[in-house]
Symmetry: C2
Subunit: 342 residues, 2 copies
């Protein structure tokens, strides 16, 4: 008998809400026979959406009513204190109570992180959780963390990120010994700030497969599996990548629409450009994992459509299947034990 994986979906999360989250949920349970989703939010809106789609509630697709929604720009502290019946909070509660094995939300990142930390707590040995996602590389993809949860990070915190990222990759991508790199601004030992140099020392003396400093361009070469950085640098890298891709796409569109000649060329190249677009489609890389918590929380991009949200649900499903938090926990326990005996 297959074990059923239950995921709580914040149905009100994201810029669009139920008209994206409900179709994504319906498709996801159709696709995975071992998946059960709890749609958390305004039951009236969710049910209207379900009936519009001709989908019905059942064992693997249920609705849990909540009365509040966290705004996309609401201060995290306010959401945490004042929105105890929000779709976001209740989704996380389900994980805490063991009624779901993971939570997926496209809501306000700050509020989601604050609430997840408050409800699920961090794992022993973890100072602060980190946000981790995959980025397309020339060969395969690269995991980068932290992407914005922690602006200032000590060497020890960067080291913890490395442990967590490494566990995630070995679990989810079945890689025995993921290559870990530290994001820096040069590959020489003298470069970088104190935190990065301190983290390098910790990593050199660790069991991780630490390959040394990497730079922003190395994220894309497929020669490192986990790139570790503070949330400021990680967020800058992620947003710069998005900006660069969009700029190139914009230039490409402009160049292809200059004249009837170039428009003809566009027709000719359309299948190839379509293939490229599919290849770097950000929807395929949606779903950022909050690592270091006592439960699985995956953040979907706020502007996700249902295809992108399904990717985030799949990220959560895989993390449940591979028991990521338990693996991180046991890795940390071993680490703490080694330190205690040292």
């Amino acid at each position: 008998m297959t074990r059923i994986i239950t995921i709580a979906l914040d149905a009100m999360g994201g810029d669009i809400g139920p008209s994206v989250t409900v179709p994504a949920a319906v498709e996801s349970v159709r696709e995975h026979s071992d998946l059960s989703l709890v749609l958390v939010g305004d039951e009236q809106v969710i049910r209207a959406e379900l009936s519009r789609l001709g989908a019905s509630e059942g064992e693997r697709l249920s609705v849990l009513h909540t009365t509040q929604t966290v705004g996309m720009d609401e201060p995290p502290a306010q959401a945490l204190r004042g929105k105890k019946d929000s779709s976001m909070r209740v989704s996380i509660n389900l994980v805490k109570q063991g009624n779901a094995q993971a939570c997926v939300s496209g809501g306000n990142t700050g509020a989601l992180m604050a609430t997840a930390k408050y409800v699920l707590k961090t794992l022993p040995g973890i100072d602060r959780p980190a946000i981790c996602t995959t980025i397309p590389a020339i060969k395969g993809h690269t995991y980068v963390l932290d992407l914005g949860a922690n602006v200032d990070c000590s060497a020890e915190q960067l080291y913890q990120f490395a442990v967590m990222g490494s566990v995630l990759v070995s679990a989810v991508d079945n890689q025995a010994s993921p290559r870990v790199g530290l994001l820096n601004i040069g590959q020489e030992d003298i470069k970088g700030n104190d935190q990065v140099r301190g983290a390098a020392q910790l990593l050199e003396n660790s069991d991780l497969n630490y390959i040394g400093f990497v730079e922003g361009n190395d994220i894309f070469l497929g020669e490192v599996d986990v790139v570790v950085c503070d949330g400021f640098a990680g967020n800058v890298a992620l947003k710069t990548m998005e900006g660069t891709s969009k700029t190139i796409a914009h230039f490409l569109r402009e160049e292809f629409s200059r004249s009837w000649m170039t428009r003809l060329a566009a027709l000719c190249a359309a299948p190839v450009l379509g293939a490229l677009k599919r290849r770097i489609d950000p929807r395929k890389y949606n779903g950022a994992s909050f690592l270091g918590l006592g439960g699985i929380v995956v953040k979907s991009h706020g502007s996700s459509d249902s295809v992108a949200l399904r990717t985030a649900i799949e990220v959560a499903r895989l993390e449940v299947e591979k028991a990521v938090p338990a693996r991180i926990d046991s890795q940390l326990e071993a680490l703490l034990a080694r330190r205690a005996s040292a």
Copy 2:
């Protein structure tokens, strides 16, 4: 009578050296009748290159012999102490002595910055010089600083970068009031680290046209002229941009070479792809300005070809023409006077 602008060119600098620097120099003086270049380096190699090109020394193209070369990976302190007759050091000396108005080098960035600071000193009111370059945007281009000279920056230093960047853009691009943004990981006031929030306060109370926080993707939108950040974040952004562009180019090549059909499409699209390539050609954006020094120093990318190096020479020429250091200096003087009277 046109005033002649004299630029010292580190002829041994860069990964390739004279076979790139000498052709670039020859072309540059041909292009600009007001330009004079001093080729600094091994005279034998330089003269061999000149004769290979059928070019001759003259008033606007002279050779200054030096006996040493700074290695691309040489520690800056070692270059500073041990290489007093290097092509790099002598090029900077020429600026100090007033025999050149600017220096261009494709050599080791750290050594170039350390030597430039030592020889030319920083301007009064500047704690540390910054590295600034332009990045292509959907509309026009954006200046970003610092790109790696300073990994940790105080609020005051970020503010100084904003002043220098703003002066550079108003001088070189003839913009009366350049829009200045602070790189952050969210646009809300509560986001970011202490330094960034502190710099925001200084900028809000300044005469600069400060538009607020910007994120990595905003660099490319053309809605900000100067993006200010510490050298760690700036370097990560720059390298991530390079990596993303190369990855997309790689994917594009792969998709266009999958089959005879796609190769036919490539033929058809070749003029358009060529136009795109020219548009985002990094050689058009070569030449990073070291700002805050008592003289003009422009860093060319180490792997530059002669086309790219000519762009860097042009950056230096423009900065001389527009008297950038004097403008920064007077802006700082006014600022220091205001602070003293406050």
